[in-house]
């Protein structure tokens, strides 16, 4: 059997979902029997080198880079999975939704209680930086997403079960204890 090809990324997330992924522990050995990784922080491959079967997205979209990466995942992967609350609904970063972006920037760089050494009032505006979006967007509001695995972070068992189901084509098994939002 051809191994399924997997890619993963973390957009506006905290890498918690990836950590949880690694929490499948020794099953990771079984996993490498089933799949091969392409672009992913897990193997540090930075660009897509072949067509991917399953793309796994952690995090929502808060800036232009997130959008770009997400779109490239959609282009290069047959199936996309939103992994975790941030990918599904913006998660904690989306707490800023509705607050004017000017206010967020002011709080973060000018007036906030944690700002100490920005006497000149410099705001990040370097051309190299991604541009900030007005809101944090759930991934499925940017591109089509095929599957959703909730949790903050999603339970390792859920990730495992879902991956196996996707790879083998079997039905996904979702016991009560693994589908959680926190």
């Amino acid at each position: 059997m051809n191994k399924k090809v997997i890619a993963t990324t973390s957009l506006a997330g905290c890498f918690g979902c990836h950590m949880s992924f690694l929490d499948i522990d020794e099953r990771i050995l079984d996993l490498v029997e089933l799949v091969e990784f392409n672009k992913s922080p897990i193997d540090d491959i930075k660009v897509f080198t072949k067509r991917v079967d399953i793309g796994i997205i952690e995090g929502g979209c808060c800036n232009t880079e997130n959008i770009e990466v997400l779109k490239s995942f959609r282009e290069n992967c047959d199936v996309l999975v939103s992994l975790g609350e941030c990918a599904i609904m913006g998660g904690l970063p989306a707490l800023r939704n509705g607050i004017p972006i000017e206010e967020c920037l002011r709080e973060a760089y000018l007036d906030g209680p944690t700002v100490s050494e920005n006497k000149e009032g410099i705001l990040p505006n370097d051309e190299e930086l991604p541009m900030l979006l007005d809101n944090v967007y759930p991934c499925h509001e940017i591109v089509k997403i095929d599957y959703f695995l909730p949790g903050c972070a999603p339970r390792a068992d859920l990730i495992w079960d879902a991956l196996v189901a996707l790879v083998t084509g079997d039905e996904m098994n979702l016991p009560y204890e693994v589908v959680k939002f926190d």
Binding site: T64, E68, P100, E102, L105, P124, M131, E141, K144
Partner: protein, 626 residues
């Protein structure tokens, strides 16, 4: 000010149940109600500030912000838009030097949008400090505002012309027109005032009266079509220390204005109907719930009640019938469509927000103050008078087998002769179009926004689909050439609102969007479904209209429209109908918008989404890649 507020509350016996009247009086006194007033009310009525606020914040015509000297509420109904509302609106803004939902700097004029005010046959219309101005044009607006600036009173400004019929009565003196185009049993002139109450009542027992109304097969004219005789029989059977007759004159369904005309031309007929209902059911308290928009009739109607009291048709031992005691009070609403729903109306009568009750129990078991309560529409009550005068058999000679008698239609929109048409049940849409002198018709909205949009197209192909099993707009949707569909309880039941649209109209952008806004605004908000779904569905429709739609979006609208059917009252249950019925009958309009080539599209706009942040940090929006 506190003294004056206390004066008002004591006038109503410091009764929490009269909070509507108390608030209306306070608004008459100072134009709005402030936190200090609310604190006084809270103290005096024994409820918390938040509870007082609950009622204040519910009704459109109550406000906590200071009002202008002249407050102009411009009708925002679809018929108003069809007849040049935009230009009238601009004329108001220019003449008053203010923008809508705000006031002029000198505090003289306030401009506000308001839901349908029941003047569709003479739109655009506006209510200015309780006085109605109709058939507005930019020219008339300019003249009117100039007159007010010159110090003329509103009355002086209106009396330059008065409407037809009783609208010119010295006690009413309004510029509103009846526009009665066709009268039959209800609107013809052979009405002998108080004959039924004065003579016929005494010759019949309450049982006889109920029997006659049952035999007439009269069904409620407020929209739901419940058999009136049966309702009265239940009412008679239920025991209660008091029993209540309510005449529902809330008439809020956009496009309906027939109750306005009935109350203008034949208030005595309507009140007589209430007395008959009271006699039949053993009721002692009568309430006419009059929508705030019709306040200009309040004094006129009160005088009719006064006359009836003097003549012995209200009060004690009415018409010489021993122990038949009954009187009528007029209760004003304060701007809320949902208060037309009978249990919401009752809540409102009790001084609360107009939130429909769960049924059962029905009002006839537990209504106003938990007393058995019979709620009937203006037209229903008027019909009973004619039935008792001429007999059930006579009544049954009008109409069709399942729908007997006549129906008052309020016809408006794109036609030469908008107005009131009294027709026999069984009249077809085609006949209505012809009567009204409408040409180049694209669609007819039957039953207002909550009803159904009828098209010229054949809907045969929808007959057997899954959709038809649950989509019952207001009765049944039959498969035939739709313009031959008949107004009747088994085909197209209706409270009588008929709005005609010609081929120049954009049904989705102009009509459906306007109707959805209406429901979003007018829902009481209590049901999770009705509070949220109309908004979400409207957003989805907007997405389609913006060119971002895909096939799935149409299917989504249909299946989401199903969820809202589990809402508590008729408002929520029908709130998706503008979208559902336009998809059903005008699907091609949707198809024109949706993209065939893709199954996914969103409304995300990358450039727009970075605008604000870039501007703030002082950076140009440049995209390096793709």
């Amino acid at each position: 000010m506190k003294d004056k507020i206390l004066e008002i509350t004591s006038k109503y016996g410091d009764d929490r149940g009269r909070l509507m009247d108390i608030l209306i009086d306070i608004h008459d006194l100072k134009g709005y109600v402030d936190d200090a007033n609310i604190e006084v009310l809270s103290e005096k009525l024994g409820i918390s500030i938040a509870e007082v606020n609950e009622t204040v914040s519910f009704y459109h015509f109550f406000t906590k912000t200071p009002k202008a000297e002249f407050n102009i509420y411009l009708n925002d109904s679809i018929t108003s838009n069809l007849r040049g509302r935009t230009r009238v609106k601009e004329a108001f803004e220019l003449a008053c030097d203010a923008t809508f939902e705000g006031k002029s700097e000198d505090g003289m004029f306030g401009l506000y949008n308001t839901s349908c005010i029941g003047m569709n046959d003479q739109d655009p219309a506006a209510i200015i400090n309780d006085v109605v101005f109709t058939n507005l044009t930019p020219y008339r607006v300019k003249q009117l505002i100039k007159a007010l600036k010159d110090g003329k009173s509103l009355q002086e400004a209106t009396y330059e012309s008065t409407g037809d019929g009783k609208n010119s009565d010295p006690d009413l003196k309004s510029m509103v027109f009846n526009n009665i185009r066709k009268g039959m049993m209800l609107l013809n002139k052979d009405y002998e005032r108080f004959e039924v109450v004065g003579k016929i009542l005494a010759e019949n027992s309450p049982e006889d009266i109920i029997k006659t109304v049952e035999d007439s097969n009269l069904r409620g004219r407020g929209g739901a079509g419940f058999p009136t005789g049966l309702k009265w029989r239940f009412g008679r059977r239920v025991e209660g220390e008091h029993k209540i007759i309510i005449c529902n004159a809330d008439e809020g369904e956009p496009g309906t204005f027939k109750d306005r005309v009935m109350l203008t031309e034949f208030p005595d007929l309507v009140f007589e109907g209430m007395v008959i209902a009271a006699y039949a059911t053993g009721a002692d308290i009568g309430l006419l719930y009059l929508r705030f928009e019709y306040r200009y009739m309040y004094n006129y109607l009160s005088l009719v009640l006064e006359e009836m009291r003097e003549k012995g048709y209200l009060g004690k031992n009415i018409a010489g019938i021993m122990d038949f005691n009954f009187d009528i009070r007029i209760q004003l609403g304060a701007g809320a469509y949902v208060c037309g729903e009978e249990s919401a109306l009752i809540e409102s009568l009790e001084g609360k927000r107009g939130e429909p009750r769960d049924k059962p129990p029905f009002p006839v078991e537990k209504g106003y103050m938990n007393f058995p309560t019979i709620v009937n529409n203006v037209e229903t009550l008027a019909s009973t008078v004619k039935i008792l005068k001429h007999g059930a058999d006579w009544f049954n000679t009008f109409g069709t087998k399942d729908s007997l008698g006549t129906k008052l239609l309020s016809v408006s929109g794109d036609c030469r002769f908008p107005g009131i048409y009294e027709v026999e049940w069984g009249t077809s849409i085609r006949e209505v179009i012809e009567m009204a002198g409408a040409e180049d018709v694209q669609a007819v909205q039957v039953g207002g926004p909550s009803g159904v949009l009828v098209s010229v197209k054949d809907v045969d192909h929808l007959g057997g689909t899954e959709l038809m099993k649950w989509y019952k707009p207001s009765g049944m949707m039959v498969a035939q050439k739709t313009y031959d569909r008949k107004l009747s309880y088994s085909d197209l039941p209706t409270g009588g609102s008929i709005i005609i649209f010609n081929n120049k109209r954009d049904l989705l952008k102009e009509v459906v969007m306007n109707f959805m806004d209406f429901f979003i605004e007018e829902s009481c908000g209590s049901c999770s479904t009705c509070r949220n779904l109309p908004y979400i569905m409207k957003q989805k429709l907007q997405k389609i209209l913006d060119g971002h739609g895909v096939r799935q979006d149409i299917d989504d609208l249909l299946s989401w429209g199903k969820v809202i059917k589990v809402s508590r009252c008729g408002l929520g249950q029908t709130a998706a109908n503008p979208i559902l019925s336009s998809i059903l009958n005008f699907r091609h309009l949707y198809e024109e918008y949706v993209q065939a080539m893709t199954d996914y599209d969103n409304t995300f706009d990358l450039e727009k989404s970075v605008e604000a942040a870039n501007k703030f940090v002082g950076r140009k929006t440049v995209f390096h890649h793709s």
